[in-house]
């Protein structure tokens, strides 16, 4: 499979794992470390437990390795524009230059 297509699949995959998954892939929507998705395997993810910083910010990220490559896939911005969690923790923070969360960097570390 073309690597760009596979990365696109992994980009969508983050929407279907962890809490509030868009599709119920199985009874668990597993995101356990080591889970194989094609030739990629899960190596890290944010905390899905209620009360965790990531979930409180309506954020979820998952990282995969595929050969020597690390792919980080993340989601957010799924609340009502202007009045949902995004307004407090999402794009307005970026606009004001007040980054409160740096998920890709944190996952890649």
């Amino acid at each position: 499979m073309d690597s760009r297509v596979f990365r696109a699949i992994l980009a969508m995959d983050s929407y279907n794992r962890g809490y509030d998954a868009g599709l119920r892939l199985s009874s668990t929507n597993s995101d356990e470390i080591g889970l194989q998705i094609g030739l990629a395997s899960v190596v890290a993810r944010t905390d899905s437990v209620e009360g965790s910083d990531a979930r409180s910010a309506s954020f979820y990220a998952i990282a995969y390795t595929r050969g020597s490559e690390t792919v980080v896939s993340y989601r957010g911005t799924d609340t009502i524009p202007f009045i949902g969690t995004d307004a407090q923790t999402g794009w307005p923070q970026q606009k004001r230059g007040q980054y409160t969360f740096s998920p890709p960097a944190a996952l890649a570390a």
Binding site: G18, Y19, D20, A21, G22, R24, S27, T28, N29, S30, E32, I33, G34, V43, A44, R45, T46, D47, S48, V49, E50, G51, S52, D53, S58, T77, D78, T79, I80, P81, F82, I83, G84, A106, L107
Partner: protein
């Protein structure tokens, strides 16, 4: 304010009002009861779980539609002989953190109940019908929540998962899980588990998991994947 500014503001307000009007919300409240046979007789524990769900508008496109949920309640605790306690967590045996949200409707999808008529896709209306029906049912083993115990309840890192069919291995001969039931209720969730696991508050405030870590998860160790939210969820 210029005329153009006024028109833009009015259009924005109208858009927000229409988006807010598209939000669907519905709740479900049910009691989970765990029954365990022991050499000293039947031991039971139960807890009320309350699920509030909201479906946001599909804006700017259908890919943005989502249902998010807030859950209240606490893990079921069953006091067993010898001072032991069995905990039935607010997460699935496989680790599903949305377990309380999915439990009832998933069961009814697999085991339709003639007392409740459901319509595919009409999740909010289906929840109203389920709640009104007051139905009760027994979970099948593949629907069970995650069961755990602590070797030392004062030390969160000593958490261990317990297999439903192997309670005697964890708690001694003659201890056997009889069944787990679910019943719709109007009762309110409680927070009694704080008296059993007093460290929960501190872990919740600090966003720590049972091994003391917070942030990125890179292992499958149970204590690295369980947080206070598996035991107690508040508004």
């Amino acid at each position: 304010m210029t005329r153009r500014g006024f028109l833009l503001g009015a259009a924005g307000a109208a858009l927000l009002a229409s988006l807010a009007g598209c939000v669907q919300s519905e709740s479900l409240r049910y009691r989970v009861t765990v029954e365990v046979d022991t050499p000293q007789g039947l031991r039971t524990g139960s807890s009320v779980w309350h699920v509030d769900s909201q479906a946001g508008p599909a804006f700017p496109g259908p890919e943005a539609a989502s249902i998010s949920s807030n859950i209240r309640g606490e893990a079921v605790t069953v006091d067993l002989p010898g001072g032991e306690t069995l905990f039935a967590l607010m997460r699935g045996a496989g680790g599903d953190v949305d377990y309380p949200t999915q439990l009832v409707q998933r069961h009814l999808a697999e085991h339709p109940d003639p007392r409740v008529e459901t319509t595919p896709g009409a999740w909010a209306e289906n929840r109203r019908r389920i709640q009104r029906s007051g139905i009760a049912f027994e979970l099948t083993e593949d629907e069970y929540p995650m069961l755990v115990r602590f070797r030392d309840r004062s030390d969160p890192t000593t958490v261990e998962q317990v297999e439903p069919g192997d309670l005697d291995e964890a708690f001694g001969p003659g201890v056997r899980l009889r069944r787990i039931t679910v019943e719709m209720t109007q009762e309110s969730p409680t927070q009694d588990i704080i008296g059993i696991l007093p460290w929960l508050d501190e872990y919740a405030e600090q966003g720590r998991r049972l091994n003391g870590n917070s942030g990125i998860i890179t292992t499958n160790e149970l204590a690295d994947n369980l947080g206070s939210g598996s035991f107690l969820r508040r508004p």
